[in-house]
C-alpha cells in the first residue's frame, strides 16, 4: 500500500472512527472534543492527498479521461458490481479539502456552542458521518460506490435538521414543527432524486458492464440512446441536489431551519455533491447526452440566477435570503458546466469552492446574529454596526465577497461562467451570458439591501442590547474562511492550478 492509498483510506477512516469514538465516550464535552480532534486531523490528511507523484502512469494505449493521483481498487460486493474504488484528482481534491475544513470548523464551533435541542455529542457524531458520506462521494471512482456514499449523507442530515433545527424564538425554544416539516421535505425531495440516480446508475452499469468511472468516462461504448437516457436520469438527480431551478424548493426551508452548523455544511459542501456529480458522472459518463441537453441546462441555470436573485430582493428573513442566494450562485456554477468548455468547467469548480467558503461564512454570521438578537427578520434588525462593529464588518465582508467583487473568491466563478458562455458564442449563448451578467448586478442589489437593512441605520430594540464581543471560538471558526476568501480571490490557481489537466482531459472526451 502506497502513502497515497493510505491517505485515501485514512481520510475516510479518521472521521468514521471519530464518529464511533464520539458515540462511545459517555461525557458530552469530552466526546465533542474527541470528535473535533478527529475532524481536525482529517484536514491535513486531505491536504496531503495532493502530495506525492501526481503523474499518471498509463497501462493502456489511450489515456483515460480520469487520471487520479492516487487510487485504491478493492473487491467489495461482487453481486452488486460494487468495488471499493477510491481516487483523487485535481477536480475532487479542492472539494475534499473544503469538506474536511468546513466540518472541522463546525465541530470546533460545536465545542463552544451546542444549539438547543439535543446533546452535543450526537450532533458531532452526525456531522462526522455526514463528512464521511460527502468525502466518499468525492473520492469514489466506482459508480455504485458513488451512489452508496451519496445516500449515506441523507439521513444524518435529516436528523441534524430535526434534532437541532428550528428558528429559535425569543424564549430560547426553537419552533420544532417547522424544522420537522423542512427536514421531511429535504429528505423526501432528495430521496426522489436518489431514486433517479439509482436507476441512472444501473442503466449505465448494465449497458456498459462495468461501474468503473475511469473506464466509463468518455461514454465508452454506450450507444447514443442510452447516453441520452442516462444523462436525463443522472442530470435530474444532481439537479435536485445542486439545486437547479425549478427543483430547488427543498433548499430554502432546509437551510433556514437547520442549525448554524447544519446550514454551513448543507450550503458549504452538500450542494457540491450535486455539481460534482454533474461534472464527473453525468457529463463524464454520458457526454453525448450532455451535449444534447446543454442548451436546456444553460437556460435553466440562467433562470436560476435571475429568479434566485429576484426572490432574494423580496426576501424578509436573513437566513432565508442567504439560503436563496445559493440558488443564484449555484446557477453560475451550473451555467459554467452547461457550456461544456474548459473555461466553464474550471469556473464551475472555483465557483463551487468559493460558494462553499463564502456561504459557509455567511451562515456562521447569520447564526451569530440570530443567536444574539433572537430574530432574523430584516425589519427588526438594523444598526448592527453601531453595537457590534466587528460582526457588522465581517458580515459586510462576506456579503461583498458573495456579490462577486473582483479580488475576492466569489468573482472567479461568476466571471468565468460569463466568459465561457461568450466563448461558446452564437446568439443563444451570448444572450445567456448577458442575462447571467445582469444577474450579477441583481446579486449586488440584494446583498447591498441586506447590508443596508442589517448594518446601517439606528439600532432597533433587538440589536440595541447586543454586546460587541466576539468569542474566541467564533473568531477561530471564521478566520480561516475570511483568509481563504481573500486568498482564493487573489490567487485562483490555489484551486485551479491542479484542475487544468483533468478538466482538459474531460473536455477532450466531450469533443
Amino acid at each position: 500500500m502506497t502513502v497515497g492509498q493510505f491517505l485515501l483510506v485514512a481520510v475516510l477512516a479518521v472521521p468514521a472512527l471519530g464518529a464511533v469514538a464520539v458515540a462511545a465516550v459517555p461525557r458530552d464535552r469530552a466526546a465533542r472534543l474527541v470528535g473535533t480532534i478527529a475532524a481536525a486531523l482529517t484536514v491535513p490528511l486531505a491536504a496531503l492527498l495532493a502530495t506525492g507523484d501526481r503523474t499518471w502512469t498509463s497501462y493502456t494505449a489511450t489515456e483515460p479521461a480520469i487520471r487520479p493521483w492516487h487510487r485504491l481498487d478493492l473487491q467489495w460486493v461482487p453481486g452488486l458490481d460494487l468495488r471499493l474504488h477510491l481516487g483523487v484528482d485535481g477536480i475532487s481534491w479542492p472539494l475534499v479539502v473544503l469538506t474536511a475544513l468546513l466540518t472541522a470548523l463546525c465541530c470546533g464551533y460545536t465545542l463552544w456552542r451546542v444549539p438547543p435541542g439535543g446533546s452535543g455529542r450526537a450532533l458531532v457524531a452526525l456531522l462526522l458521518v455526514v463528512e464521511v458520506g460527502i468525502l466518499g462521494t468525492f473520492l469514489a471512482l466506482d459508480l455504485v460506490l458513488f451512489f452508496l456514499f451519496f445516500e449515506v449523507v441523507l439521513l444524518p442530515m435529516y436528523a441534524i435538521i430535526v434534532g437541532w433545527g428550528g428558528s429559535t424564538g425569543r424564549d430560547g425554544r426553537p419552533a420544532r414543527d417547522a424544522a420537522r416539516a423542512a427536514a421531511r421535505k429535504f429528505a423526501l425531495y432528495t430521496l426522489f432524486g436518489s431514486v433517479l440516480l439509482l436507476v441512472g446508475v444501473y442503466v449505465v452499469v448494465s449497458a456498459a458492464g462495468t461501474a468503473d468511472l475511469i473506464v466509463l468516462t468518455g461514454g465508452g461504448e454506450l450507444p447514443r440512446s442510452t447516453q441520452l437516457a442516462a444523462f436525463v436520469l443522472l442530470g435530474l438527480a444532481f439537479a435536485v441536489k445542486s439545486p437547479l431551478w425549478p427543483l430547488h424548493s427543498w433548499l430554502p426551508d432546509a437551510h433556514t431551519q437547520a442549525p448554524t452548523v447544519g446550514s454551513v455544511v448543507l450550503a458549504g459542501v452538500l450542494l457540491k455533491m450535486g455539481t460534482y456529480g454533474l461534472i464527473r458522472v453525468a457529463v463524464g459518463v454520458a457526454p453525448e447526452g450532455a451535449r444534447w441537453a446543454a442548451p436546456v441546462l444553460g437556460a435553466l441555470a440562467v433562470a436560476a440566477i435571475l429568479v434566485g436573485s429576484l426572490v432574494c430582493l423580496a426576501q424578509t428573513e436573513l437566513k432565508r435570503l442567504i439560503a436563496y442566494s445559493s440558488v443564484g450562485h449555484m446557477g453560475f456554477v451550473l451555467l459554467g458546466v452547461a457550456t461544456l468548455t474548459a473555461t466553464g468547467i474550471q469556473g464551475a469548480l472555483i465557483g463551487n469552492i468559493a460558494h462553499g467558503v463564502i456561504t459557509g461564512l455567511l451562515f456562521f454570521l447569520a447564526g451569530a446574529i440570530k443567536d444574539r438578537t433572537g430574530t432574523g427578520s430584516l425589519a427588526e434588525l438594523s444598526g448592527l454596526r453601531e453595537t457590534a462593529p466587528r460582526l457588522a464588518g465581517l458580515l459586510a465582508f462576506a456579503a461583498v465577497a458573495s456579490l462577486g467583487l473582483p479580488g475576492l473568491a466569489g468573482f472567479w466563478g461568476e466571471a468565468l461562467a460569463v466568459i465561457a458562455a461568450v466563448q461558446v458564442g452564437g446568439a443563444y449563448w451570448t444572450t445567456l451570458a448577458v442575462l447571467a451578467a445582469v444577474g450579477g448586478a441583481l446579486t449586488a442589489a440584494y446583498l447591498l439591501r441586506l447590508l443596508r437593512r442589517v448594518t446601517h441605520g439606528r439600532p432597533g430594540p433587538a440589536v440595541g442590547s447586543v454586546t460587541p464581543v466576539l468569542s474566541g471560538a467564533e473568531l477561530t471558526a471564521w478566520a480561516p474562511l475570511v483568509v481563504l476568501t481573500l486568498a482564493i480571490g487573489l490567487a485562483p490557481t490555489l484551486v485551479l492550478g491542479v484542475a487544468g489537466e483533468p478538466v482538459a482531459a474531460l473536455v477532450e472526451v466531450l469533443r
Binding site: A314, P389, V400, A441, A444, A445, L448
Partner: protein, 639 residues
C-alpha cells in the same frame, strides 16, 4: 526595476489599508485606547499614501517609454489572464495625481473628523478604506491586464460605497451609498461583458495583446460599446450619472477623493488605455461624443440652480467629465488626460475648501452663507483660484486644459479630424462653448453667494480652519494655478499623448492663437451676466433668473424619478412576483404533490377501515375474483 515600482505602487496603500482594517474598533467613549487606535490609523493612512506618492514620483522620473511586465495569473484553455503592469509616462502622471490627492485627503481627514466628532470611533476603518480606495485606483492606473483593471475598478466601487455611508447622522447616507454602488455596477455588467468579448477574441486579457489583436469589426464595436457602459457608470456620464450628486452624503474629504483623482477619473483613464480600440470604430466615438455633449450641458445646467454648495461642485464634476469624454470622442486623449489632471487639482481644492466652509458655518446651504471673505481670507483666495480654474480664467490651469479640449473639438468639427463623425464633433464643440458660459455663470454665483455680499445670518464668527485643514488646500492651490502652464511645454505634451508609432508628431495640448479668444469672450459673458444679475438685486439668489426651470434644474432634470420609474420599481415588482411565483407555483407543486400523496393514502386507508360484514364480503369477493381469474387463465393457457 520600473516594473517592480509599478507593482509596489498599489501594494503600499493596499498593505496600509489591510493592516488598518485589523485595528481594533474603538469604543464609543473617549478612552486612551481609542486615541491610540486613532493615532495608529492616522499613521498608517498617511504613511501608505505618502509611500505611494514617493513611488509614483519615482516612476514619473524613470518611466519615459512604454514598459510592460506580466506573469500568468490564470491560464484557461483559450484565455490567458495575466497579472502585470503597463507603465507609460501618462500613467505615471495620473499616479502622481492620485497619490498626491490621497495624501492630502488623509491629512485633511485628520483635522476634519476630530476626536470629539461623533463618528470618530470609526476613524480606523475610515482611514483604512481610503487607503484601499487609493490602492484600487492605482491598480487601475498601472494594470496591464483587463481583468486586473476590473479588480481595481470594482474594489474602488465598494470602497466608495463604504465611505459614502460613513456618516451615521445622515439618514440618506446608506441609500446614497447603495445607489452609488448599484448604478456603477449596472454599468459594470457591460464592462465585464466587453472584457469577455475582447479577451475571448484575443485569447488573452492582457491589454497589449488585446490592442495588438485584429478583432472582427462587429465584435469590436459591440465590445467597446459594452465597455462604454462601465465607463459611463464610473465616470458619471449620462444616463448613469445619477449616483454622483447623491454621493455628496459622504464626508467632504471623500467627495474630494471621489471627484478629483479616483473613481470618476477611472472611466476616462480606462478609455485612454484602450483608445486605439475605441478610435478604430466609428459608432463608438459617435456614441461617446453624444453622451459627452448631453452630460456636459446637463451637469452645467443642474449646477446653476443648486443651493447645496457640495451639490454645485458635484454637478460641475459631471459637466467637466463631459469635457474629457468629449475630448476622447474627437480623438484627443492627451487633451482629455490634461483636463483630468488639472481638474483633479482644482476640484480637490474646491471640495477641501468647501469642507472648510461647511466646517466653519455648520451648513452646506449657500442660502445661509455670505460675506465669508472677511472671516476666512485664506479659504476665500483658494476658492477663488479653484473657481477661476473651473471656469477657465487665464492663466489658471483649467483655462489651458479646457482650451485644449475645445481646440480639438474645433479641429474635428471644422477639419474633420478625429474618429467621430463631423456632426458629433460639431455638437460637442457647441455644447462645450455653451458650457463655458454656464460654468462661468455658476462659478460666479457660488463665489457671490458664499464669500461676497453680507452675511445672511449672524454666524458664530466664521474663521479659517486649523493648519491640518488649511495646508492641504493651500498646497492644492499651486497645481490649480500653475499646472496649465505645463501644457505649453512640448515635453509635457509628449508625456500625456505619446506619439503613436505611425505618426511622427505629438499633438499639441495647448493652442496659443486666435482660437483662445472665443472661450474668453464666452467666459466674460457668463461672469458678466451673473454680476449684472446680482447688481440688480443684491439680496437675491442669481438663480432666480432661471424662473420655472429652476426646480427642474435643482432636481437634475428629474432623471432620478425616471430611473426610479423605469428601473427600480419594475425590478422591485418583478422581485415580488418572482417570490410569490416561487412560493406559490414552484413550491406549490411540490407541496401539492406531498399533500396529494397523503390524501390519497388517507383515502385508501379509509377504504380499508370497514366494519366486519363489509370486510368479510370484501374478502369473499376477492377470493371469488382470484379463483375466477385462475380458472380462466388456466383454461386459456391449456386451450
Amino acid at each position: 526595476m520600473n516594473a517592480l515600482l509599478g507593482a509596489l505602487l498599489p501594494a503600499v496603500p493596499l498593505v496600509a489599508g489591510l493592516v488598518g482594517l485589523l485595528l481594533p474598533p474603538a469604543s464609543r467613549e473617549a478612552t486612551p485606547g481609542r486615541l491610540s487606535a486613532r493615532r495608529a490609523a492616522v499613521a498608517l493612512g498617511v504613511t501608505g499614501a505618502a509611500g505611494a506618492l514617493a513611488v509614483a514620483v519615482a516612476l514619473l522620473a524613470r518611466v519615459d517609454t512604454l514598459t510592460e511586465a506580466s506573469t500568468t495569473w490564470l491560464d484557461l484553455a483559450g484565455l490567458r489572464i495575466t497579472l502585470g503592469v503597463r507603465l507609460d509616462p501618462a500613467a505615471a502622471l495620473v499616479a502622481v495625481a492620485v497619490a498626491a490627492v490621497a495624501l492630502l485627503v488623509q491629512v485633511y481627514s485628520v483635522g476634519y473628523l476630530r476626536p470629539e466628532h461623533p463618528d470618530d470611533d470609526r476613524y480606523p476603518p475610515y482611514a483604512a478604506q481610503i487607503s484601499l480606495f487609493t490602492a484600487a485606483m492605482l491598480t487601475v492606473v498601472v494594470a496591464g491586464d483587463l481583468i486586473m483593471l476590473l479588480v481595481g475598478w470594482e474594489v474602488m466601487g465598494i470602497c466608495s460605497y463604504l465611505l459614502i455611508a460613513h456618516d451615521r447622522r445622515l439618514p440618506q447616507a446608506p441609500a446614497a451609498a447603495t445607489k452609488a454602488f448599484l448604478v456603477t455596477r449596472v454599468g459594470d455588467v457591460g464592462f465585464l461583458l466587453g472584457i469577455a468579448l475582447l479577451g475571448v477574441s484575443a485569447g488573452s486579457s492582457r491589454i497589449a495583446d488585446v490592442l495588438a489583436h485584429d478583432h472582427a469589426p462587429g465584435l469590436l464595436t459591440a465590445a467597446c460599446l459594452l465597455l462604454l457602459a462601465g465607463v459611463a457608470g464610473k465616470s458619471a456620464q449620462f444616463p448613469l450619472h445619477t449616483w454622483l450628486p447623491d454621493a455628496m452624503a459622504g464626508p467632504t474629504p471623500i467627495s474630494a477623493l471621489i471627484h478629483a483623482a479616483t473613481m470618476v477619473a477611472a472611466g476616462v483613464y480606462a478609455v485612454t488605455r484602450l483608445f486605439d480600440l475605441f478610435a478604430a470604430t466609428s459608432v463608438v466615438p459617435a456614441v461617446l461624443g453624444v453622451t459627452a455633449s448631453v452630460t456636459l450641458l446637463l451637469g452645467a445646467l443642474a449646477a446653476t440652480a443648486q443651493d447645496d454648495l457640495k451639490r454645485v461642485l458635484a454637478w460641475s464634476t459631471v459637466s467637466q467629465i463631459g469635457y474629457m469624454t468629449g475630448a476622447l470622442a474627437v480623438g484627443a486623449p492627451g487633451a482629455a488626460l490634461f483636463h483630468l489632471l488639472t481638474h483633479a487639482a482644482f476640484k480637490a481644492l474646491l471640495f477641501l475648501a468647501a469642507g472648510s466652509v461647511i466646517h466653519a458655518v455648520g451648513t452646506a446651504l449657500m442660502s445661509r452663507m455670505g460675506g465669508l471673505r472677511r472671516g476666512m481670507p485664506v479659504t476665500f483666495w483658494c476658492t477663488l483660484v479653484g473657481l477661476g480654474a473651473l471656469a477657465g480664467v487665464p492663466p489658471l490651469s483649467g483655462f489651458w486644459s479646457k482650451d485644449g479640449v475645445l481646440a480639438a473639438a474645433q479641429a474635428a468639427a471644422l477639419d474633420g479630424t478625429g474618429p467621430a463623425p463631423t456632426w458629433v464633433a460639431w455638437s460637442f464643440w457647441i455644447a462645450g462653448l455653451v458650457g463655458v458660459v454656464l460654468t462661468a455663470w455658476y462659478a460666479t454665483r457660488v463665489l457671490m453667494l458664499t464669500f461676497l455680499g453680507r452675511a445672511r445670518e449672524p454666524l458664530p464668527n466664521p474663521h479659517d480652519p486649523s493648519a491640518l485643514l488649511r495646508w492641504p488646500v493651500l498646497v492644492l492651490a499651486v497645481p490649480a494655478t500653475l499646472l496649465g502652464l505645463a501644457g505649453l511645454s512640448p515635453a509635457f505634451a509628449a508625456r500625456l499623448a505619446p506619439a503613436a508609432p505611425d505618426t511622427a508628431t505629438t499633438p499639441e495640448l495647448v493652442h496659443v492663437g486666435p482660437g483662445l479668444l472665443l472661450p474668453l469672450v464666452l467666459l466674460l459673458v457668463g461672469v458678466g451676466t451673473a454680476v449684472v444679475g446680482r447688481r440688480r438685486s443684491p439680496t437675491e439668489d442669481p438663480a432666480r433668473v432661471l424662473g420655472p426651470l429652476r426646480q427642474l434644474f435643482v432636481a437634475g432634470f428629474r432623471l432620478d424619478e425616471v430611473q426610479h420609474t423605469l428601473v427600480v420599481r419594475p425590478v422591485r415588482a418583478l422581485a415580488r412576483v418572482a417570490r410569490t411565483g416561487d412560493e406559490v407555483v414552484v413550491d406549490g407543486v411540490v407541496e401539492g404533490t406531498g399533500r396529494a400523496a397523503r390524501s390519497l393514502g388517507g383515502g385508501l386507508a379509509t377504504l380499508h377501515r370497514a366494519a366486519l360484514p363489509r370486510a368479510a364480503a370484501g374478502v369473499l369477493a376477492g377470493a371469488l375474483l382470484i379463483g375466477l381469474a385462475a380458472v380462466l387463465l388456466a383454461g386459456w393457457s391449456s386451450s
